[in-house]
Amino acid sequence: MTFLGVVAVLAGLMFGIGAIAAVYHIIRGPSILDRALATDVLLAIAICSLGAEMAINRHTDTLVVMLVLAMFAVVGSISIARFMARQDVS
């Protein structure tokens, strides 16, 4: 097994732990702001793992996907925070 193969397994394990923790917090989170924040973290982990896959396999096919996600990932969290009323607790 090559060095980058070992790195791929380790990185996949750590990305997976982070993503599972984020999903758990989306389900359990006490307020809607916590859920928006955890969704943001899940999206950032997705962007990072796309980039890691590209660097390990030496191609640039999904670089455009990273660009679009980095541009528009902000819309969801900001609209939730902007239009949240005081009584929206969950």
Binding site: L4, A11, L33, A38, C48, G51, A52, T60
Partner: protein, 117 residues
């Protein structure tokens, strides 16, 4: 196994560790503001290291310019998200005030109320 491969592997491991730390941090920390601290910083540094790894593996000008664009958009939009979430959390009482050492915004709001509006 060349030097470029070792550098790529280390950068990817840094990014993966920061993603895991962000995930564990948002589960462990008690309120929205501390979770913001755990969530936003690893996103920027982890993304930066993975983008450097891509440039090391595929060093062309097209890849470099696209990578700079991705990093620029992330650096522009991530503080906006953190600011809006923190503001909404403060305004809707999702902040654990017993954990705060100093609440400067509360002082400013009280002072503004006293000096007239």
């Amino acid at each position: 196994m060349s030097a470029a491969e070792i550098a790529t592997g280390l950068l990817i491991l840094v990014s993966a560790f920061l993603s895991m730390a962000a995930g564990i941090g948002i589960v462990r920390f008690p309120d929205v503001l501390t979770r913001l601290h755990a969530a936003t910083k690893p996103q920027v540094l982890g993304l930066a290291s993975v983008l450097v790894a891509i440039v090391v593996q595929v060093p062309t000008w097209g890849v470099l310019t696209t990578v700079v664009l991705v990093m620029t958009f992330q650096l522009l939009t991530q503080p906006m998200t953190a600011h809006m979430l923190g503001r909404a959390a403060y305004r809707s009482d999702h902040v654990r005030r017993d954990l705060l050492i100093e609440d400067d915004l509360d002082h400013d709001i009280a002072e503004h109320d006293q000096t007239g509006r």
